[in-house]
């Protein structure tokens, strides 16, 4: 192979200019540089760039994860606080209700007790009246009988006439009642 502009060997003995290139070196220089640029473009650069991208992504991914965890924690705290507030509100409501209900129960009990007491009082009074009337009735018949017997003994004679006898007792009792009611009236006035 000959060179582009001059023979490579120094056999000619001429002074060769260092500024004149050899053809072979130009060709090899071109081939080598293109080969290197191609190898870098095709293999080295994409691989390194991918590693850089992965690295960036790994860092950013970690940061995103941390951010997400923080957001989750914040959401949980908010939820917890909301639940707490709700529970407090509910407790207050229950307490209020209980107080109202208690007051109502007390009022009802009081009402019931009063009614019962009235009923008992009424019942007792009725019973007393009845017993008193009975006592008065029995007393009246017994007193009449006793008085008649006593009077018969004192007088010494039988008060044979039934009718007369009855009239006498009636008169006596009426007098007694009249005097009693007169005394009652005085007591009331006094």
């Amino acid at each position: 192979m000959t060179t582009l502009l001059l023979p490579l060997s120094e056999a000619a003995g001429e002074e060769t200019s260092p500024l004149l290139p050899h053809t072979a070196e130009i060709i090899f220089g071109f081939v080598f540089l293109v080969l290197l640029a191609f190898a870098f473009a095709k293999y080295v650069v994409p691989r390194f760039e991918k590693a850089y991208a992965d690295r960036t992504q790994a860092i950013e991914g970690g940061m995103n994860e941390a951010k997400q965890a923080q957001a989750e924690a914040k959401a949980a705290l908010e939820k917890y606080n909301a639940q707490l507030a709700e529970a407090r509100q509910e407790a207050a409501k229950i307490r209020e209700d209980a107080r109202e209900q208690g007051a109502q129960i007390i009022a009802e009990m009081r009402e019931t007790a009063k009614v019962e007491a009235d009923r008992i009082v009424t019942h007792a009074r009725t019973q007393i009246d009845a017993e008193r009337a009975q006592a008065v009735a029995s007393l009246r018949s017994e007193v009449g009988h006793m008085a008649t017997t006593l009077a018969g003994r004192i007088v010494g004679e039988s008060l044979e006439d039934e009718a007369r006898q009855r009239r006498t007792v009636e008169r006596f009792l009426a007098d007694l009642e009249a005097s009693e009611s007169a005394r009652q009236a005085v007591g009331t006035d006094g």
Partner: protein, 260 residues
């Protein structure tokens, strides 16, 4: 090699760069071609291994690969071109940077010790590729006429200066850039290698072949100087790879920029 046989010192010069082919008869297979091919293999092997299992938590190899890749991607491409657009040019800029870097540093690696880019063909190819790319993306973005305007009429320059500005800007932005780009890299590698040759061959000649004790002492000092210069050269080799790629990225960035 030459000085060893002759008793007369032959100073290194441009002829020192005319290396014979590695296999006689296969003229195209020279040392620069071999070194460049090796560098391509090393770059591909390294980045293939580093990016093979590109994981979120990187291995040591992946970490080292990312370090190099990030340097070109962020410190060069993104800073010079701008954020979303720069990714399109990262593959070329990465390939370019590591190709130049390894071939430059190869000049310091024992047993290789030859800067590939001191043969002008390599810088020419790299510069022309960069030139084609930045002009092509500029034309695609602004259209032919728009791109021409964009590159030759800086905003804020008064109209009467335009007849002066347009030729100057055209020459500097379109014509000179590939030349300066390639010559800067070439000249640094070429001169650095010659400098090392002068010190090493000169020191060796003085030490072994001069037959003078005083010159032998100077030869030792010269060889020690050569070590320091090799260290300086390592620095220059890295810096030149960086400059070449930064300028390429900057040309692309200015070509697709909206306004100046």
């Amino acid at each position: 090699m030459i000085a060893g046989v002759s008793t007369e010192f032959i100073p290194p010069g441009p002829q020192s760069f005319d290396l014979p082919p590695i296999f006689s008869g296969v003229e195209w297979f020279t040392k620069p071609v071999l070194v460049a091919a090796l560098s391509v293999v090393v770059i591909l092997w390294f980045f293939w291994g580093a990016s093979r299992k590109a994981a979120i938590v990187p291995s040591k190899l992946q970490f080292a690969g990312e370090l190099g890749y990030n340097f070109v991607r962020n410190s060069i491409a993104r800073d010079m071109i701008g954020s979303p657009e720069h990714m399109k040019y990262v593959p070329y800029l990465c390939g370019l940077f590591f190709f130049i870097l390894l071939n430059n540093v190869a000049a310091t690696i024992p047993l290789i010790q030859f800067p590939t880019f001191s043969h002008i063909g390599w810088p020419y190819v790299a510069a022309v590729m960069s030139w084609v790319i930045y002009n092509a993306v500029g034309i695609r973005k602004h259209g032919v006429w728009g791109y021409f305007k964009h590159q030759t009429m800086p905003a804020g320059v008064p109209g009467w200066l335009m007849p002066l500005m347009i030729p100057i800007e055209f020459i500097s932005n379109i014509l000179v850039r590939p030349v300066s780009l390639s010559l800067r890299l070439f000249a640094n590698m070429f001169a650095g290698h010659i400098l090392l040759l002068v010190f090493v061959l000169g020191g060796e000649y003085m030490l072994l072949h001069s037959g003078s004790l005083a010159l032998g002492g100077v030869g030792i000092i010269t060889l020690l100087m050569a070590l320091a210069i090799a260290g300086l050269e390592l620095f220059v080799q890295v810096i030149q790879a960086y400059i070449f790629v930064v300028l390429t990225a900057q040309y692309i960035g200015s070509a697709i920029a909206e306004e100046h």
